[in-house]
């Protein structure tokens, strides 16, 4: 903290931590996950299927963004080995200045992975003689689809548990005085000495990644027919 008597020098700038597309994708999840649960509980299957395919597109985008997005979005930036995770657990040190901590990185992988598993199971779920089916249901046998449907139903609780853990962790950091929420909302965090942030948004790459993810999701929505 600078001496309050002295006039502050050129004010340090806020540090950009998360890019707009990453934030948009992130905040779609707390909207879509409850919506998926509600549509399933109330048998709104057409909506459930449509939202599920939107969710698939968003998850695919997040995965692509993990390779071509800004620094903090990249898997290479936040997926760390067990040594780094243990060191972080012991001392709270060793993470990058901004972005996911070594532990938070694995939480991110778990959340994205679990959602991908759940959405993928849904693609094969259902029974053509009894209501709605996922777009890839015809690719598996009737008994396999039946088992997948049951797993899809039960796996929701894995998602719910991970979301609970995620919220608990954010609360824990908030109590410690570490505000993780604001940067995920507005993108920026208060200034830090010697940290520049993620730089300008790569919109062209963002657009290409969106196009690719949306294209694959649409292709799956129409039954993933071979392209040749």
């Amino acid at each position: 903290m600078p001496d309050p008597a002295e006039p502050a020098p050129a004010r340090l700038q806020d540090v950009t931590v998360w890019d707009p597309l990453l934030r948009l994708t992130h905040w779609s999840f707390p909207l879509l996950i409850p919506a998926m649960w509600w549509t399933a509980e109330n048998s709104k299957w057409a909506l459930h299927k449509r939202l599920g395919l939107v969710l698939l597109g968003l998850l695919l985008f997040r995965v692509v963004w993990g390779f071509v997005g800004p620094e903090t979005a990249r898997f290479s930036h936040f997926v760390k080995g067990p040594k780094a995770v243990l060191a972080y657990l012991r001392s709270g040190e060793g993470g990058p200045a901004i972005g996911h901590s070594p532990l938070g990185g694995w939480s991110t992988i778990a959340l994205i992975g679990a959602m991908l598993v759940q959405v993928s199971l849904g693609l094969f779920a259902g029974d053509p003689f009894d209501g709605m089916t996922g777009p890839l249901n015809p690719l598996v046998g009737v008994m396999v689809a039946d088992t997948i449907t049951e797993v899809h139903e039960a796996f929701f609780w894995v998602i719910a548990a991970l979301v609970g853990l995620h919220l608990a962790a954010i609360t824990f950091y908030a109590v410690k005085g570490d505000d993780l929420l604001s940067p995920m909302v507005g993108g920026d965090r208060p200034p830090m000495e010697g940290v520049a942030g993620i730089g300008p948004m790569p919109w062209v790459r963002g657009l290409l990644a969106c196009g690719f993810a949306g294209g694959v999701a649409l292709w799956v929505a129409f039954g993933a027919v071979p392209l040749t």
């Binding site: 707390p30 009894d130 209501g131 709605m132 046998g141 039946d146 908030a174 005085g177 929420l181 909302v185």
Partner: protein, 165 residues
């Protein structure tokens, strides 16, 4: 540190709302919307559920190179017995219009003869499947299984709430 307080407050409020919504939602999911739903509603739902499972087992067999025709016959007989129970499990006042968690459209009671005929169709088609299965002709059994599926679908299209919308 003062700049922390506003987002923290928002965060706490959001978390509280989220938790309240979660707990409120999960505790009320499996309960019937109104007290004392007639027993027939659960009974017929279980009955249809079992018919669906039996039909799945039949189709599962027919996907194999060497289907177990004895199993198909047994499942078809099971469906046949359950199909005969359908009519009696739809007492008046148990439609979607009566405030129960059901997919039974009021059409069932508006066109009772057609509903009866639709349930009889499943009785007939499942009986045919049971007797055909003894012959062990996969093609014929498969065609009859699909005919029986047509009986399911025909009735659903007319009398069951369309949950694909």
């Amino acid at each position: 540190m003062s700049r922390m307080s506003a987002p923290r407050l928002i965060f706490a409020a959001a978390l509280a709302t989220g938790l309240a919504a979660c707990s409120g939602g999960s505790s009320s999911t499996d309960e019937a919307p109104s007290a004392a739903a007639p027993l027939e509603i659960k009974e017929r739902q279980d009955n249809f559920e079992a018919i669906g499972d039996a039909f799945k087992a039949v189709r599962g067999e027919l996907e194999k190179d060497a289907p177990d025709f004895a199993l198909i016959a047994a499942r078809a007989t099971d469906i046949n017995g359950r199909a005969q129970r359908i009519e009696a499990l739809f007492p008046v006042g148990t439609s979607t219009g009566d405030g129960f968690k059901t997919e039974a459209l009021p059409t069932i009671w508006q066109k009772p003869e057609e509903f009866k005929a639709a349930s009889r169709k499943l009785v007939d088609e499942s009986a045919k499947l049971a007797s055909l299965a003894g012959g062990g002709d996969k093609g014929a059994v498969g065609a009859q299984a699909m005919a029986m599926g047509g009986a399911c679908k025909g009735c659903h299209d007319q009398f069951r709430l369309d949950d694909k919308k």
